[in-house]
């Protein structure tokens, strides 16, 4: 029997606020264990939470960018469970009246658009971190992350392959970065996904039993975890077995998932309205003001790049995938770089440098790329030398003109110096000169190459060509 895959994602995102959701402790990543804590975020008796307004703003902006309906009335609720990562023994979250509902995100699957529904987005607080005691006697708890504001974005079960799940995750991350809602640093766990997956006989409309895989923090692990879970579930079903509803932990290194011991007897969280926090009421004016303040989103930029700037769709897709790259491109163009030239540099050398360094950050602004392109345009450096300059810019953050000057990379246009080198090359390469005289035009290319080698690639090619032609003509005369 053939099975159909049904995937839904729950994405947790730490918001880019400076302070925690209910207190003024910093949200900065890292820091010594338990040094970003106060009585509120460690739940000391008698403390009261106060909502960070910026967290509400970010949640609404995320919702607007994902085409959600924003609730004019929403409230916080208590989700009760005992686990030492939450010292209150409950998490402040939202239950029946989330701040955003019913949106969607469009993803591109082999050139075709697929719409993935967003069920809801709600605000909640992050939990602390358990460090397993190396001596094995107990667990250690660090509450630095406890109380960092989160939104949870719950999708409809609209994805039907691991590839779609990955694309959706990428798209959501990109939108969150564009809107400035989160920095989405994956290695710091500031965005992570739970994958809900089930199989059903092809053509059936009834959902099968699903499993949930928690805390996947890379695009690759979402893809791999989904793929592995499809194999596991279809294996069980093909043997006539039944998939059990459970939570599983994905082990990236082992490349497989393991059942998690049940934290709580069933998921009985006994939600009730949080009495310590008052409801959030958003007027239409306020929601509109948030909408107005949204930056231009990736699909709009994509359209502008392809339609107005003549950038190929493939390139525009890659450049707009990350707000950092896209902003960089915009800046380069703003400072006078030709759009296509800038796109080519980004798609080629810059992406390679970023990949090699394993970073999404470009250590200099787009203005610097414009300056580099200008140096080429003025004929002050060659294209090849520009590649060297770019690597140097990436490594040191130096400006192109500084690097060119410092390393003496400027094109040699000094007629006397070039004449000296051309003469030298002609007298040292008798064989090629004879070949050229014998009608082998190709020998010219070789001689050009020799001049370039002598000058470290810096010779002005137009001048060299003319001078070589001159020199050879002279050599041919008796």
């Amino acid at each position: 029997m053939d099975y159909e895959v049904v995937i839904g994602l729950e994405i947790h995102v730490e918001l880019a606020t400076k302070s925690k959701i209910f207190c003024g402790c910093t949200t900065e990543f890292g820091g010594e264990v338990n040094t970003h804590c106060c009585p509120v975020c460690t739940s000391m008796p008698g403390t009261l939470p106060v909502m960070n307004e910026k967290a509400v703003e970010f949640a609404v902006k995320a919702g607007l960018a994902m085409n959600c309906e924003i609730a004019e009335f929403s409230k916080m609720d208590r989700k009760n469970y005992f686990y030492p990562d939450l010292p209150k023994a409950y998490q402040i979250s939202q239950f029946d009246l989330p701040i955003c509902k019913g949106g969607y995100v469009d993803i591109d699957i082999n050139g075709k658009m697929k719409r993935i529904g967003i069920t809801r987005i709600h605000i909640e607080e992050d939990a602390g971190k358990l460090i397993h005691d190396p001596h094995g006697k107990g667990s250690l708890v660090d509450y630095n992350r406890c109380g960092v504001p989160l939104i949870e974005i719950v999708s409809e079960p609209d994805m039907s392959s691991p590839e779609e799940a990955r694309k959706y995750f990428e798209k959501v991350r990109s939108i969150l970065q564009y809107t400035g809602v989160s920095d989405c640093r994956m290695q710091e766990g500031s965005i992570r996904a739970d994958v809900n997956l089930s199989l059903r006989p092809a053509g059936s409309t009834k959902l099968g039993t699903r499993t949930e895989m928690k805390n996947l923090n890379s695009f690759r692990s979402v893809f791999n975890a989904a793929e592995s879970e499809i194999k596991r579930q279809s294996g069980i079903l093909r043997q006539g077995g039944r998939v059990g509803q459970e939570t599983r932990r994905w082990d990236d290194d082992a490349g497989k998932s393991f059942p998690m011991r049940n934290k709580e007897e069933a998921h009985d969280y006994r939600y009730f309205p949080e009495p310590d926090l008052v409801p959030i009421i958003l007027t239409k004016e306020r929601i509109d003001a948030y909408r107005e303040s949204l930056p231009e989103l990736p699909w709009k930029r994509f359209a502008r790049y392809t339609e107005e700037m003549g950038i190929p769709g493939y390139d525009a897709g890659i450049i707009t995938a990350s707000v950092k790259t896209s902003d960089f491109f915009e800046e380069a163009v703003k400072y006078g770089a030709d759009a296509k030239t800038a796109a080519n540099w980004i798609m080629g050398d810059l992406m390679r440098l970023m990949n090699d360094a394993g970073t999404e950050d470009i250590p200099f602004g787009g203005k610097m790329l414009a300056e580099l392109a200008d140096l080429i345009g003025q004929g002050r450096i060659s294209n090849n030398i520009a590649k060297t300059v770019l690597s140097e810019m990436f490594a040191t953050g130096g400006t192109p003109s500084f690097i060119v000057k410092e390393k003496g990379l400027e094109v040699v246009s000094d007629r006397d110096e070039l004449a000296r080198i051309v003469d030298k090359v002609i007298s040292h390469n008798k064989k090629s000169v004879e070949d050229y005289m014998g009608g082998k035009e190709k020998a010219m290319g070789f001689l050009m190459g020799q001049v370039m080698r002598e000058t470290g690639g810096k010779a002005n090619p137009t001048m060299v060509k003319a001078m070589l032609a001159d020199g050879l003509k002279k050599a041919m005369e008796p």
Binding site: C25, V33, E53, D133, G138, L140, V278
Partner: protein, 95 residues
């Protein structure tokens, strides 16, 4: 509405409470009474009454997103029954 002892045990388990046989009986009676009262409320006609989503009548109490100094770790850990390397220490947790 009757609350069985199994329900009491289940709820007590969720709340990490250990109840004696007498206490279970008392709880099942009291919880039953509460739910019975709810049934009474359900008999009222509330068609024209807006649902009360929250007890609090105020709304939009916010703080500005600004960082204030956190507490010294020693103070945060002062009342911890057990600690190690700057962390709270709890019985071993296995996933």
């Amino acid at each position: 509405m009757k609350i069985t002892e199994e329900t009491v045990e289940y709820v007590a388990g969720l709340a990490r409470l250990l109840l004696s046989a007498d206490e279970k009986k008392m709880m099942s009676d009291q919880m039953g009474d509460i739910l019975e009262y709810m049934d009474k409320l359900n008999s009222l006609d509330t068609r024209d009454i807006l649902p009360m989503e929250h007890l609090e009548r105020a709304s939009n109490v916010f703080r500005e997103d600004s960082v204030v100094k956190s507490f010294d770790r020693d103070k945060i850990l002062a009342n911890a029954p057990d600690k190690e390397e700057g962390a709270f220490k709890v019985p071993r947790i296995v996933d």
